[in-house]
Amino acid sequence: MEIIVNKDKCTGCRVCVDVCPVGAITLDNDGKAQIDERCSFCRLCVKECPENAIEIVGEEKKKSETDLNQYKGIWFFAEQKHGKLSHVSFELCGISLKLAETLKEEVCGVIFGSKCDEMAQELFNRGANKVYVVEDESLDEFRQDIYVCLMTELIKKYKPNIVLASATMIGRSFIPQTAARLKTGLTADCTDLAIDPDTKLLQQIRPTYGGNLMAKIVCENHRPQMATIRPKAVEEAKPTGNNSGIIVKDNFASFNATCRVDLISKEAVEQTIDLQEAEIIVSGGRGLGDGKNFEMIRKLAELIGGAVGASRAAVDSGWIPYPHQVGQTGKTVKPKIYIACGISGAIQHLAGMSTSDYIIAINKDPDAPIFKVANLGIVGDIFEVIPKLIQKLESKR
């Protein structure tokens, strides 16, 4: 595969130079575009070139040796904690049901754990048609080798077309190894999925380059098509009241699964705040100017029953610990109300909160990008507005 510039067509307009996310394009001595080896084949220049002067050549289509049609069904791995399904499982169920509308294939959950029947019922209630279950005491604990073994063997046995998991630490740990064992593709941290109406391929949409670009990725010749989905990026499946479906149980012993790594002990992370479960979040950024000013944010949050979030600038300044960080490299949140105070709205921050139901932004700079995503934008000084707001909330209680 090679990327080439048709020097006759190139006018040296520099559009490609400006769009290349890796800075691999420069103009040569004749003022024509040249692309160096740092190119990541993202195709943005191919798309943006007004003269259609850039193309990728030598991309032969190799046909798959296996019969892809024998792979049927949309699977999702349902994560659980202490015998209860976590919200990400319902999100995966929701997106799977959406895919099934076009693909017309079964939606199936996969559960590993000790008491799975109730959880399976819950998935039926959310619209799943079938649930694959492997039951054992030991499976309540995440063990990389065991989970990889079970997942791989189930996939080999039942041949699903699509396998989804959440891009949680657990999903991002064992799903890549599973995909590698099956020698198939895996798209990471997707924020949306769709089925191509013509090819019926899974279109996997994900942010890359620090959220500056979105990419659509497909897996043409390998099955299953696998993806991890960013938590809170897609809608949960709603309860339907229906409680029937098929449970398929495979005997744990039949897998002969062993774990090479021994678990010696466990320790809870101190004072975890569950930002992802919070319905209201009040976040502070560099505009606070000092760690002690987070008091004001905490106060406001407390008055409206919210949790405290932060931008990376605030976390990096040491004003508040990392678990509070919202964004690309922090938590992705989708509360009912998100209040951003003194946060500019960098793309990496937006990546973690822009799908919140209602966004209020307070910033003294009317051009701050945060206002582009805000439902209510307040151009003002946080040190003037927030104390007044706190007063109102306190007095009218």
């Binding site: 400006d18 620090g210 307070i362 909330l393």
Partner: protein
């Protein structure tokens, strides 16, 4: 004992310049840097050597320019470095990237721990570490925050998982991916920089590392990027200016409507 650190060169997206006249983003000459997470992997690779003896080897797959991150690794204290560079590696997804790294590691020979960053800043899949372990048929431990002890045959370490830490014991060799918490990376020394300058870094091509032709580059990559675009972020919102009291009142009324006040 050999500790092999996998390093990736990435574009420095933090350092985006804006043309003062046209206000357009200038990408030309976006500097390439070592993936920030990989400093922690490298530092840990160096500390392992200092604590338990052995050598630290740095490898990267990338274009000829990626030699720079290996030079940096040497200046920080790595003993050896190898650049995997071949046109045939172009278009690799994580399956092909990890296969290529695995082949090179096999060629390097006996090793005890392979260290990777938590994720790369550009592709940010975090998949290369776990997939690499699978190609080499050895265990992987993700999100490692501390290495407690290493012997010839095994390693004890702590890893973070969502809401708790686990202490684990793994046989060696193994792959780990590390998080920021694990250490505080050092700065290069003058002596190190001089050594880096003098060091010739071997370049390995597909020929050098052998293996199956069909598992490299685009042929060995099941996933394919078919489209790419800039995200549109736009919401129909209202923006208000005014006296602090009016502004606070506007928020208060809105919170009331939303049932929060």
């Amino acid at each position: 004992m050999k500790y092999i650190v996998c390093l990736k060169q990435v574009p420095d997206t933090m350092d985006v310049k804006v043309d003062p006249v046209t206000k357009r983003i200038v990408r030309e000459g976006v500097p390439s840097i070592l993936n920030p997470y990989d400093y922690y992997a490298l530092e840990e690779g160096l500390r392992l050597k200092e604590r338990f003896g052995g050598t630290t080897v740095a490898i990267t797959m990338g274009p000829p320019q990626a030699e720079a991150v290996l030079k940096e690794a040497i200046s920080l204290g790595a003993d050896e470095a190898y650049l995997l560079s071949d046109r045939a590696f172009a278009g690799s997804d994580t399956l092909a990237t990890s296969y290529t790294l695995a082949q090179a590691i096999r060629k390097i020979g006996e090793f005890s721990i392979i260290l990777c960053g938590r994720e790369a800043m550009d592709g940010s899949t975090g998949q290369v570490g776990p997939e690499l372990a699978e190609h080499l048929e050895i265990p992987v431990i993700t999100y490692v925050s501390k290495i407690i002890n290493v012997t010839e045959n095994d390693m004890e370490c702590v890893r973070l998982l969502e809401d708790h830490y686990e202490t684990l014991k793994s046989p060696l060799p193994a792959v780990i991916t590390v998080i920021k918490e694990i250490n505080e990376p050092r700065l290069p020394s003058l002596k190190g920089m001089l050594r880096a300058k003098k060091t010739q870094i071997p370049v390995w091509t597909k020929q050098d590392i052998g293996g199956n032709d069909l598992q490299y580059g685009q042929d060995g990559s099941p996933t394919k990027v078919v489209e790419i675009w800039r995200p549109e972020i736009k919401k129909e919102g209202k923006i208000i200016k005014g006296e602090p009291d009016e502004l606070a009142e506007a928020i208060y009324q809105e919170l009331k409507k939303l049932g929060a006040a």
